[in-house]
């Protein structure tokens, strides 16, 4: 499992990459591996407000449907439309496959999220390794 150090991580297994006041959100390598083959991604609409800790969409795999929780608060500016046709790219490379882009309400909020190392520790604790 790889967790880029430039990303920040939520305990609900989403990553966010911050660039100025824009946050790019995806799910972690651990999340895609636990879900298994992803077959459908439900994303919010452009312009929708999302709030840190609240649901903003869902990911469906052959095993289950899992909710997506926003790691940050802000307004959705872009969604990754390509996922409609090729949701499997999340399985191929979760770190390079973004779901939504968000204009952050308060960019400092991401400081409350986990670093790559802390997230890895958290995942290991959760899976009991």
């Amino acid at each position: 499992m790889a967790y880029p150090e430039t990303y920040k991580y939520a305990k609900s297994h989403e990553w966010v990459e911050v660039n100025g006041d824009t946050g790019t959100v995806g799910i972690t390598d651990y999340a895609q591996s636990s879900l298994g083959d992803i077959v459908f991604v439900e994303l919010p609409k452009v312009g929708q407000e999302i709030e840190s800790g609240s649901m903003f969409g869902s990911v469906e795999s052959v095993k289950a449907v899992s909710d997506l929780y926003a790691p940050v608060t802000g307004t959705v500016t872009e969604i990754n439309e390509a996922l409609n046709d090729t949701p499997e790219t999340i399985n191929t490379d979760a770190n390079a496959t973004w779901l939504i882009k968000v204009t952050l309400k308060n960019p400092d909020d991401v400081n409350a999220l986990l670093s790559a190392a802390d997230y890895e520790t958290f995942v290991n604790e959760e899976t009991g390794h």
Binding site: S34, D37, V39, V62, K63, A64, P87, E88, G128
Partner: protein
């Protein structure tokens, strides 16, 4: 390859008999008929001219044309491919796949019941109404509730009805409220129900024992919460021992306790939801009360509730007239309305009542005890072979995980498929979601110790294979007509309609499917 299919000897299954069976469309021959009609004894009319604009010639496609025996053989062959509760055990956790007693079928086929018409006058339907009344009374007694509707056609439909009642209740009290709390171990239908009824779903995390975290619940419940939807025992087969406190927390804020009765098979005759604080609940007659489950049942999901919800029950409501006869009361101004045509799946009422009466109170209690005993027998036999994530005492089902086998790359789904090679239907795979790699097993009271031992044998064998020859398990099943299917491909690119291979002749209703 044959000799590598099994390590050890399966006692229950050898290779399935395999007979290839094409699609009916592929067997079709132009003009072949399974019937012959006499010559018209009236003048022929041109149907197309008669129908005028209503005539439809497009979009019908080509219908298969076969003889009677071809059709009979086709479906009979397909029927032999089925796995059924009458062929073997279904250890599907959360589904309560118990035996459907033959006496139920005998009673349901009595002419007066099987041939009854829902529009028969009430005066000629007293027997059928009597069955509904007796069943209602029995279910009210079993659940400890005050009243009931038999209309809902299945569990999720029952949930929908129950939450509609909840919403109607809160609305009548001036505030429909906005949220429904659902634990993370819940059946997926619970949050779906809440959402369909217009509520926001608030997710409640389980504590380390797999139960409701009271402190967390207390923080979440406020005047905006309409209800908590709780399955008790929970989906990991554990009884919520703090259920009284849970209902007190809810009631203190005016919220209701909805109980998902999916797991009532662990409670019947032992404890009553009405006594431990549930306000509204559904039952699954096709789980707890032995009506058929597979092949579409049909199901039946009666909703029992407390008096406070009675005014809102779906109409019509069964009533006893002053002269002692039974009838329906349609004058229900506060009712949420009908949720089902007629009065529900009546055939299931007959079967469920037959089951209840055949067992009697002592029999039903014994049923519960045996279901719990069977689950705990499996737990004690298989603990160690598979990881047991929650050590809390099990009731009617037990949830293991694939943690020990996942080290070799063998997942719960692989072992479930391998179980097919050993002659069993797979257990419930990857549910509940609170357990990573869940293997959920519910034997029900129907299985004998001998059958349980066969399952233990098979699962122990599968675990051994996962250790010694993981590829064997990862590629299972090996003995079925079709090998492992591409579930991902089926979900990503579903083929929803048969298409004839490319034809040189244009296919119309008048050309035949065979011309390709």
């Amino acid at each position: 390859m044959e000799e590598t299919k099994f390590i050890g000897t399966p006692r229950k299954a050898t290779t399935h008999v395999s007979q290839n069976e094409g699609l009916m469309f592929e067997k079709s021959s132009a003009g072949k008929k399974g019937y012959r009609l006499p010559l018209l004894d009236v003048p022929a009319v041109d149907a197309a001219a008669l129908l005028g604009e209503a005539v439809r010639t497009d979009g019908l496609g080509v219908m298969p044309e076969l003889s009677e025996i071809e059709i009979i053989r086709h479906f009979t062959r397909l029927s032999t491919w089925n796995y059924a509760i009458d062929l073997g055990m279904y250890p599907l956790g959360s589904c309560t796949m118990k035996y459907n007693p033959r006496i139920n079928e005998a009673v349901a086929r009595l002419e007066g019941l099987a041939e009854a018409h829902p529009y028969q006058p009430e005066s000629l339907s007293q027997g059928a109404l009597g069955i509904m009344k007796m069943l209602s009374d029995a279910l009210i007694e079993i659940t400890g509730m005050d009243t009931i509707t038999l209309q809902p056609a299945a569990g999720a439909h029952g949930e929908f009805t129950g939450i509609l009642l909840t919403k109607a209740f809160h609305t009548a009290n001036g505030n429909p409220r906005t949220k429904v709390i659902v634990p993370d171990s819940a059946h997926g239908t619970n949050p779906a129900t809440a959402a369909v009824c217009g509520y926001q779903v608030a997710n409640l995390k389980s504590n380390a024992l797999g139960m409701v975290d009271l402190a967390e619940l207390e923080k979440m419940v406020d005047e905006d919460v309409a209800a908590l939807m709780l399955t008790n025992p929970s989906t990991i087969g554990v009884f919520e021992s703090d259920i009284h406190k849970i209902s007190d927390i809810l009631h203190a804020k005016g919220a209701l306790l909805y109980m998902d009765g999916a797991n009532m098979n662990a409670l019947v005759g032992k404890t009553r939801p009405g006594d431990f604080g549930a306000d509204v609940m559904h039952l699954n007659l096709h789980k707890t009360f032995s009506t058929p489950h597979g092949g579409g049942g049909p199901g039946s999901g009666p909703v029992a509730c407390k008096k406070i919800l009675e005014p809102f029950l779906p109409s019509p409501v069964l009533k006893t007239n002053p002269d002692g006869t039974l009838g329906f009361d349609y004058n229900r101004p506060q009712s949420v309305g009908r949720v089902r045509a007629w009065y529900g799946n009546f055939g299931m009422f007959v079967r469920a009542l037959a089951y209840i009466l055949a067992n009697g109170p002592d029999g039903l209690r014994q049923t519960t005890e045996d279901a719990v005993l069977n689950a705990n027998y499996l737990r004690s036999k298989l603990e160690g072979t598979f990881e047991l994530p929650y050590k809390t005492r099990s009731l009617h089902e037990v949830v293991f995980s694939d943690k020990l086998q996942a080290k070799n790359g063998v997942k719960t789904g692989d072992m479930g498929k391998r179980l097919i090679d050993y002659g069993f239907h797979p257990y419930t795979v990857s549910f509940p979601l609170v357990v990573n790699g869940a293997m959920m097993i519910e034997p029900t009271e129907s299985e004998s110790k001998e059958e349980l031992d066969l399952l233990v044998d098979a699962l122990t064998q599968v675990a051994r294979e996962a250790e010694e020859n993981p590829e064997l398990v990862k590629n299972a099943p090996h003995t079925t007509r079709l090998q492992r299917l591409d579930e991902t491909g089926a979900a990503r690119k579903p083929v929803l309609r048969w298409k004839a291979p490319v034809s040189s002749t244009e296919l119309t209703a008048n050309t035949a499917a065979k011309e390709w």
